[in-house]
Subunit: 487 residues, 2 copies
C-alpha cells in the first residue's frame, strides 16, 4: 500500500495515515474482515515510527472502522463477506495512490428507482432543441467531426457561454473561460494544479461526494467547516485558518449539495474577504442555480470577486445535456493559465462535436423558457416528496425543504444507520445516497440524500411512500441496543 | 513557487529542484531575464539547506539555463523580452504545481503550414462514414443526447473496440477496456494513479512531449533510456534499474514518437520480462500502428503480456475522428479498477454522443479499406518529403526514414539550434517541432520533428523545399563561434 505523506504539513502524520486508511475502508478497497499490515511492516513501508502507526490504528479503532484481535492483528471491522464485490483482489496486490472512490461505489449500486443520483429525468431535458442542433450542425459543418478544437474550448462556444453567464449575473469575458468535460473536470483541474499531499482544502461540513474523492486523490487533507441555515460558518473557518493555511476553499453556495442550503449574501462577502486575506482560492461550484423554486438565489460569489481569487464552475450536463458532458470554468490571469496547462495535460481539449452540439442552447432565448418549465416540474416534485414524507414518514425523521436544486436532505434518529436502511430499500429496487458519502471524515451515519429529479411524479410518490414504509419497519425492528454505526 | 520534494526518493533533492526549475524555464513560465528567488529565500520556501539550492542553481548554470550576476542574483539566461507572451505575469504571483507545458507552448505557435503537429489532414479522414453515423444516430437514438453513459465507457462501444483490437492482434475482453478522451487522458489516468513526487518513470530518450508534461505534472522524475534502431536499449535500462526502482515504463514501441523507430520483437519480449522482474507497469502507447508503409509492425507488447503488467493505449482521434476525441485503454484486474476510479474523479465518464458517433467505424470492414488508403497517402507523403530533402537539404543534415506513422526526425549539425531555425521558418509561416520538446531533461537542441501528415502533397513539397532553403541560409549565416545552445 502506498500512502503519500507530507512531513512538513501541519496535518500530523498520524492523521494523514489514518485518513488514507479510512478512505480505503469506506470505499471498500479494504474489505470487511481484511487484515491491515502489521504495525512493523506499515511503519517500515511508510518510513515512520511504529508509535505513529499504532496511534493511527487507535484512531481507526475509535471510529469503529477496525478491530484488534490480540496476537492476530488489526482487521477491518465486520464479518468478511464471501460474495464478489467491486474490488475482489486484495488492495495490497497493486500499489497506487487512489484511496477513495465513494461516488463510483454508489453509482454502481443504483437501482431501478434511482433516488441516489442528482440527474434530471430524460423526458424533462431539452431533447428537441439538442436534436435540431446536431442535425443542423451535420448539415452545415460536418467537418467538425474531423477537426481538433482549441484546447481552451471552441471560440464560438466560449463567446456564447460568456453571454449566457453574463445573463445569469456572472459577467466573464470569453477569454476567461475554459471548456471542460462537465464540472467534475473543473474540480479535477483545480485539484491537480493546486493540491499535493498534506495540503489543506476547506469544504462545507457535508459536500459533493465526487469532489471529496478528487481532492483526496491528490493526497490533500480536507477540513470540513460546519454550516447553518445561512451556509458555511465563516466565523468557524476564520478560527480554523489561524492554525491551517488552506490552499483552496471549495463551496457550493447555491442549493448546496447535499443539504440544499443557500449561503446568504452576507456570508458570500465574508468568505470572499477571508479568502483574500489568507490568501487562497475559492472554488465556487454552481451546478443548478438556474433551478430555484421561489425567489432567484443571491448573486454568485464570482460576481462579487474583483481580485481573481474565485474559480467558478458551471456544469451544463445536468441541466442541459448529459450526453454532451460540457462544463464551464471561469477564472482569470495566472490561475486560468495554470488550469489551461492542466487541461492540456488531461486530454488536449474537449471534443469539438459536443461543444458545437450544445452551442445553440446557450444562445437561444428558448432555453430560458425551458428553465422555467424545469423549475416548475422540479418544484412540483419537491412538493410531492415533502407531502409524502409529511404523510408517511415515521416520527423522529427530519428534513430540510430545499428552495432549489435536485435534492432533499433527511436526518434519521441519531443511533440509526442509513447504510443498513439502504440494504433494505435496495431489496425493493430503491436506491438513495447514504449521507456518510458526503463527509470527508468522521461521517454521520444517520442521514441521507434523496434526489427527486430523476423519477417521474407517480413513481417518485409511490417509492417515497415505500421508502417510508421500509424506514418505519427498520426503526421498529432495529436492535434497541443500537448496532455500532459502521456501514 | 511551489516545488514538491520527496525526501525519501532516490532522486537527489538537488536534481528534484533543478528539474522543476528547468521545466519552468523551458516552458517559459520563468522568462528570459527573470530573476530566480535568492538562495536564502528558495531554501526557506522549500525547507532545504542553502547549499542544496546553490548546487541546483549550479546545475542550471552548467546547462546554460541561468546566469549569475555577482551581487545581483541568478537570472534566466537571455535578454528580457518586452513583447507579451503566453505567461506575462511573473510565475511567483501564484503558487501551483504545473511546471512544464511544452506541448501547449508549441501548439500555440502553429503556423499556416503546420509541420509541427502529428494530425491527419482533414480531407484524408473518413468524414462520410462519420457523418452517416451521426445522422443515423440522431434518427434512431437521439436520446443519447440526454443520457449519461457508463463511467467505464459505453458497453456497445467497448464490445466493438474489443473486436477491433482483437483484429489488430491485441486480444482484450470488452470488460478490460476503459473509454478515454483520446489517449492523452489514458496517459493522464495512469499518471494520477501511480505517480507522486519523487517517483521514477522510464521513457525512451526522446518521447511524446505531452506525456512528459503529464508525468512531470505529478512531480515524478523521468529517467530517459537511450535508443538504437531496434528501439529502447533494454540492456541500459536493466543497469539503471539496479539503482532506481521505476514505477512505470512508458514506451511508444511502434513508429516511435518522435523518431519513427520500431522496437524489435526481441526487445519487446525483453522489456516485458524486465518489467515483470522489477515489478513495474509498462504503458504501451500505440497511436498509429495501423499506419505502416511496408510490412505490418511486430505484435504489440500487450499481446505478449500474460501477467496484466501492460497498460495499452490506442488513440482513435488521430486516425479516425479528432472531433470525437475517443481513446481506448486496455488493462486488467486491480490496475484497471484503479484507472476506473481515476476516470471517475477526472470527469465521470466520456460523453455518450461522441462514443456512439464513432461506434460504427469500429464495426465496419470499410474502416480497413480506409486504413489502406491512408497508408498509401501517407507513404506517398513520406516519400515526397524524403525526396525533397535528398534534393534540397544542405550537407550535414541527417534523417531517419520512418516505416510508418506521421513523423520524420531530423538531426542538424551538433552546434546548431532548432529553436533559432524555427524563428526563421515561422517568418515564412512554417512551423515544426523543435526536438528539445521531446527530451525530459538535458535536451539536444540540434534536432527536430517534421510531421508530414497534415499538409497536402503540393504544399508539403513546396514548404519542405522552403524549409531547406531557410536551413541552408541559417547554416551559412550562423556565427562560426556557435552561440550557446539555449533556445
Amino acid at each position: 500500500m502506498k500512502i503519500d505523506l507530507n512531513r512538513s504539513s501541519k496535518i500530523p502524520l498520524v492523521k494523514q495515515i489514518s485518513q488514507a486508511l479510512e478512505d480505503r475502508i469506506r470505499s471498500e478497497h479494504l474489505k470487511k474482515g481484511e487484515r491491515l499490515s502489521s504495525v512493523r511492516k506499515m511503519a517500515n513501508d511508510l518510513g515512520v515510527s511504529p508509535v505513529t502507526v499504532i496511534k493511527a490504528y487507535d484512531l481507526l479503532e475509535k471510529e469503529g472502522l477496525v478491530t484488534r484481535v490480540h496476537g492476530k492483528g488489526t482487521f477491518v471491522y465486520g464479518e468478511a463477506e464471501s460474495k464478489a464485490c467491486l474490488y475482489h483482489q486484495p488492495a495490497q496486490t497493486i500499489t497506487d495512490y487512489m484511496h477513495r472512490s465513494q461516488y463510483l461505489m454508489y453509482t454502481q449500486r443504483r437501482k431501478r428507482v434511482d433516488l441516489s443520483s442528482s440527474t434530471v429525468q430524460t423526458e424533462l431535458l431539452p431533447l428537441p432543441a439538442l436534436l435540431e442542433s446536431v442535425q443542423h450542425l451535420m448539415e452545415k459543418e460536418p467537418e467538425v467531426l474531423c477537426q481538433y478544437g482549441d484546447i481552451k474550448g471552441d471560440g464560438e462556444l466560449r463567446k456564447a457561454a460568456s453571454n449566457y453567464l453574463t445573463y445569469q449575473g456572472v459577467s466573464v469575458d470569453s477569454n476567461e473561460l475554459l471548456i471542460t468535460n462537465g464540472s467534475q473536470q473543473g474540480i479535477d483541474l483545480v485539484a491537480r494544479c493546486f493540491l499535493r499531499p498534506g495540503d489543506v482544502v476547506i469544504t462545507e461540513e457535508t459536500t459533493y461526494s465526487a469532489a471529496i474523492d478528487t481532492f483526496r486523490g491528490t493526497g490533500a487533507t480536507i477540513l470540513p467547516v460546519p454550516m447553518d441555515r445561512d451556509g458555511l460558518r465563516v466565523d468557524k473557518l476564520t478560527a480554523l485558518c489561524d492554525t491551517y493555511q488552506p490552499r483552496l476553499i471549495y463551496t457550493i453556495p447555491t442549493f448546496h449539495n447535499p443539504t440544499g442550503t443557500v449561503m446568504s449574501l452576507k456570508r458570500r462577502g465574508q468568505l470572499l474577504q477571508l479568502a483574500e486575506s489568507i490568501p487562497c482560492l475559492i472554488v465556487e461550484d454552481d451546478p443548478w442555480s438556474e433551478i430555484y423554486f421561489d425567489d432567484p438565489p443571491p448573486p454568485s460569489i464570482k460576481s462579487l470577486d474583483s481580485t481573481g481569487n474565485v474559480i467558478y464552475l458551471k456544469g451544463l450536463s445536468k441541466i442541459l445535456s448529459p450526453g454532451c458532458r460540457i462544463g464551464l470554468l471561469a477564472a482569470s490571469g495566472p490561475v486560468l493559465k495554470r488550469l489551461l496547462i492542466a487541461k492540456t495535460n488531461s486530454d488536449l481539449g474537449s471534443p469539438l462535436l459536443t461543444q458545437r452540439a450544445i452551442l445553440p442552447l446557450l444562445q437561444a432565448k428558448k432555453t430560458q423558457t425551458y428553465f422555467q418549465q424545469l423549475r416548475k416540474a422540479l418544484k412540483e416534485r419537491r412538493d410531492l416528496v415533502v407531502r409524502c414524507l409529511q404523510e408517511h414518514a415515521p416520527p423522529g425523521i427530519d428534513w430540510l425543504i430545499p428552495s432549489g436544486g435536485f435534492n432533499l436532505w433527511l436526518t434519521l434518529p441519531r443511533e440509526t444507520n442509513a447504510h443498513d436502511l439502504l440494504h433494505h430499500t435496495e431489496k425493493e429496487n430503491i436506491s438513495f445516497l447514504p449521507g456518510s458519502a458526503c463527509f470527508s471524515s468522521d461521517p454521520s451515519y444517520h442521514c441521507l440524500r434523496i434526489s427527486f429529479s430523476s423519477a417521474p411524479n407517480d413513481i417518485l410518490y409511490s417509492s417515497i411512500k415505500e421508502f417510508c414504509r421500509i424506514l418505519t419497519d427498520y426503526l421498529e425492528k432495529r436492535p434497541s441496543e443500537g448496532i455500532k454505526p459502521i456501514f
